[in-house]
């Protein structure tokens, strides 16, 4: 029998690197120079910086909009793609394509001088739009397929059989979706949505290519700080990244609690 200490190498490596990374970031945030006495100067500086607070607000707004829209598009799409293997594989291609590449493709189509610009004159710009539309679009293109894949994994034959049973009992398709399919998929969907939101809070490559220049999303705020403000900026960047990390972890914890409760209701 496989003993549970078999998971130790993987778990220890992960938690050591993860814990080490967070501890390292914390250390940078209080003492960016080796041998320096720890101080909360960077925390005070960043938390009192109006540009940071703007960035935080915009990041949360963009993350919420991108996540809600992804869920709303993924649900009907998953219903449509049930049982269509080949199409499923093609639609899940974006899951394998890196975020940066999707952003590049969006710029080539919708950016200034892009294909859309050539076909339709005076098209409203989404790339670098202050509304964050470009960022939301890239995440939609990436995360809808991710959520569809997740939904298709939990929406299995067992769920389909229960829908059939419901149909023989005279339950219409819309009501079956609500009473049979939804309870089976909602808990994993909540967890998937939390992962999507964590990606939007933390990925640098998407806002770096299609995000607005002012206000910037949190990861861009962090990288700008290191590039412009030197050593002091490194401490500031660490603070911004720790705030984003804390938010993402809190969000995931809340999603975990919610998913457990939803799952409990079903059983």
């Amino acid at each position: 029998m496989t003993r549970s200490r078999a998971v130790l190498p993987a778990l220890v490596v992960t938690l050591l690197l993860f814990g080490g990374a967070l501890a390292g970031a914390l250390r940078t945030s209080v003492a960016p120079l080796p041998g320096q006495a720890p101080s909360l100067a960077a925390w005070r500086r960043v938390l009192g910086d109006p540009a940071f607070l703007d960035s935080l607000a915009v990041t949360l707004a963009v993350a919420t909009v991108a996540t809600v829209l992804s869920v709303l598009v993924a649900l009907p799409l998953a219903a449509l793609l049930r049982g269509r293997r080949t199409v499923q594989v093609l639609v899940t291609l974006p899951v394998l394509v890196p975020h940066l590449l999707v952003a590049v493709v969006v710029v080539l189509w919708l950016g200034p001088g892009g294909i859309a610009d050539r076909v339709v004159a005076d098209l409203p710009q989404v790339v670098r739009a202050p509304s964050g539309a470009g960022v939301v679009l890239v995440y939609l293109l990436k995360e809808v397929p991710f959520l569809v894949l997740l939904l298709l994994a939990v929406w299995d034959d067992d769920v389909d059989r229960r829908v059939e049973v419901a149909a023989t009992l005279g339950v219409g398709p819309v009501r079956a979706l609500r009473t049979v399919v939804w309870p089976a998929v909602r808990a994993p969907l909540v967890l998937g949505a939390a992962v999507v939101m964590a990606f939007v809070l933390g990925f640098l490559q998407v806002p770096a290519v299609v995000g607005a220049n002012d206000p910037v999303l949190l990861p861009v705020y962090a990288i700008d700080a290191t590039r412009i403000r030197g050593l002091e900026g490194q401490a500031d960047a660490a603070v911004a990244l720790l705030v984003a990390s804390g938010l993402a972890l809190l969000l995931a914890a809340a999603a975990g609690v919610l998913a457990r409760r939803l799952d409990g209701v079903r059983r």
Partner: protein, 258 residues
Amino acid sequence: MRWRAAGRATATALAVLTVAPLLVLPVRALGDVWRAPALLPQQWGTRGLDVVLAPGTNTATAITNSLLVAVVTTLVAVVVAWPAARWLATADTRRRIPVLIGLALPLLVPPLAIGTGLAEWFLRLGLTSSLAGLVLAHLVAVLPYVVVVLAPGFTPAVRRAEEAARTLGADRRQLLLRVSLPLVAPSLGVASLLGGLVSWSQYGSSLGVGRGIPMLPLVLEPFVGRDPQVAATLALVFLAPAVVALVVVTRRTSRLSR
């Protein structure tokens, strides 16, 4: 019946919409002169490729670095993930979920935080600006995917075959090389492919820990605004492993459904 046909048409349209946008990449990469408002380049050529391969630029180095780090990270990940995946295949849900959460935890925080946070320590260990530091930073992101994809490969049939081989006197090395590895190979292939792809796509962690080491996504980004033709050429290189992965997965699923 009409509902089904409409569904099929919509599904096909969606598939086309997913793949078609990518076709802009080869056109842009091979368009030496492409002035608006023309819909196709006025002059085709390989200027993009010439810039990528020109001596003295870091683009070619970046491609080699990214490939090397992806291969090494995946190898390390497979070795570390193997026992965990094996355990996961038989563990009950109550014990499995905390382990999965522990493994997935690093995926939730900004990769740049992982990269810069690790750099703080690697600086002291002399690992910054080295490929080893990059491998460790990527490992955090790659490991959970490899474990989760590898686990279903350890089916009851595999365990029965291992048991039989052991009864017949196979030693540990024979067991691994002659029984376990060949039987788990299909899952191992997909897990490695996905792991390699995750490392290949890493952006924030590479930027944070690498401190200037050229990696493909990092050298690609500045070209997007500066020289779209070079950006598109590098993007095609960046896309290639995903296409390979898709082909492998498609062939596997079609073999399974036959």
